[in-house]
Amino acid sequence: MSTSETLTGSRPLRAPGAGHESDNYLNHSKGILSWIFTLDHKRIGVLYLVSILSSFFVAGMLAMLIRTELLFPGRQLVSPDAYNQLFTLHGAIMIFLFIIPGIPAALGNFVLPLMLGAKDVAFPRLNLLSWWLWLSGAFLAVVSILLGSVDTGWTFYTPYSTTTSTAVVSMVSGVFILGFSSIFTGLNFIVTIHKLRPKGMTWFRMPLMLWALYATALIQVLATPVLGITLLLLIMERVMGIGIFDSRLGGDPVLFQHFFWFYSHPAVYIMILPAMGVISELISVFSRKHIFGYRFIAFSSVAIAAFGFLVWGHHMFTSGQSDLITVIFSALTFSVSIPSAIKVFNWLATMYKGRIQLDTPMVYALSFIVLFSIGGLTGLFLGALATDVHLHDTYFVVAHFHYVMFGGTVIAFLGGLHYWWPKMTGRMYNESLGRVAALLIFLGFNVTFFTQFVMGSHGMPRRYFDYLPQFTIYHQISTLGSYLMAIGFFLCGAYLVHSLYRGEAAPANPWGANSLEWHTPSPPPHDNFEHTPEAGDPYDFTDWTYDPAIRGYVAKSRTSH
């Protein structure tokens, strides 16, 4: 076996127990066409991963531009119109190209069939079509940018979106297509989980990640079509002048908001549910303890999906919604926090008296619990009518959703990425750098966004190009935090890419987890499993012992490979 110098010292490049170079899904077939036309869910997962990370990078750069512009009052880099385009694009790209596909498409596609001991998802061709649709949507978004971009905000509110001369139609068409990408992914996952579970894996013996993906898929299938019709109506309004949202023609602009938020609120649960699924896996594995309250967590996932459909009006408290409806939505909004809280309690109870191992994925998982809790609690201020009237459209809202979407979903995504990285790539990344980057991101994030809570409660409005001098110091602190975060992300990207070339070979089960994806080599063979594994309790780790020779875990009940 050859050896090489890596950052961690001399290690064999090929460790026993790792996948042989000749027969894994990555080298099963060669050439770019074998990737673009693949039907292998693992390859599609990787394609998605590259796609969404690229979007995250672009939208992240836009955010850096925004924050830099806001260092001082007045114009620094861009004109006011360009600024409007910047935050619109940042939002639209982050939401529709990164976070909605996000964990389900990039990690879920890879992991879901493996966790089921299956060979693929139910509809592999539909899966590929989903990715192609993502590409098409991204292409149309680029077209829109080239045609002058959009400045309506990612929410496309009428009447501005129907009357502005910016390239709304191409952007909205792109989002429409992305919606179908999301629908097909969700459809695929629902059927796969229903139909391709192995013998012995009842609903309540599935890993909680699958419950999370299932609940997410339900929302994707049921909510996204309403976005589709909303965007279609917007396009018809612009192109054909139908007048349905135009008050001069007897239409109703607030109806657009009802239509839009009927999807876009459940959409935020599309974003957070898979993240919670990842956290359930991480907390249990890295506490070396069975998950506490399995059924509670499973049911709460479905409950969040269901309740999520009942609260869309809380985005419209100040839009002229009727009093009765406003009160109903406020009450329902409070109830939706309950299942989320149940999950947090169960995770904490899982950690209690566990053997906590602070590997990088666990650092992210712990960050998630802190940041998501803050984000969730601040949602209560926004759900209460008396306070929302003051906080709506301020930086308080911006901070709230960044805490849940970024501090929640993105952090969990990074945790999951680091957790499944060895499985996907067959390589280990540098653990010390991993923790350093996680810490930088955590610190930078809080500096950036906690400041915005304060700013917002003092009245700083959102989406504003300019501001009063008293807010300057807050903006500067926030921008500083964003630079810190960016350093963390660049570091993370650097060591992950480095690991692809010089990383230590990964064992089949570096973390000692028991869900089925860890019962196959890293990276897995084309058909996922050499021997179809038997479904057991995914949170029972007792069968695995740590073997220092391979820096991973081996199963006591089976002979070595």
Binding site: H194, L222, V226, D252, V254, L255, H258, F262, F309, L310, G313, G320, Q321, S322, D323, L324, I325
Partner: protein, 116 residues
């Protein structure tokens, strides 16, 4: 097509032909009823009568033409859930629309009319 080993047969209840025609007959009769209902003005009930008849027709199509009567219940549940969401969506939007359009109910929402 040549027959295969039994475990490879796709499952399938075969719907009796007479049943298909019977269902069509009822559907056509109900269509006629819908048109006939327009000859009577029941005021506010008109829309409900029309929707009930349409609902019965839809149920027949779903149960018999779409095979739900003999299919796994979950498939029917999928359709049901989508309809429930539709009703939820329409319900909230209509209730809200009723409330803030000042012309709809005379004298309602005095706050809006007192706006400067």
């Amino acid at each position: 097509m040549a027959s295969h080993a039994s475990h490879d047969h796709a499952s399938g209840h075969v719907v009796p032909l007479w049943l298909l025609f019977a269902v069509l007959g009822v559907l056509l009769a109900l269509t006629w009823m819908t048109v006939a209902a327009t000859w009577f003005d029941l005021g506010k009930l008109n829309i409900y009568v029309a929707m009930v008849i349409a609902g019965v027709k839809a149920t027949l199509v779903a149960l018999y033409f779409m095979h739900l009567r003999w299919d796994r219940p979950f498939n029917g549940l999928v359709l049901l859930v989508s309809l429930i969401l539709l009703v939820l969506f329409l319900g909230f939007a209509m209730r809200d629309g009723k409330a803030y359009d000042p012309s709809r109910i005379p004298g309602y929402a005095p706050g809006i009319q007192r706006a400067p």
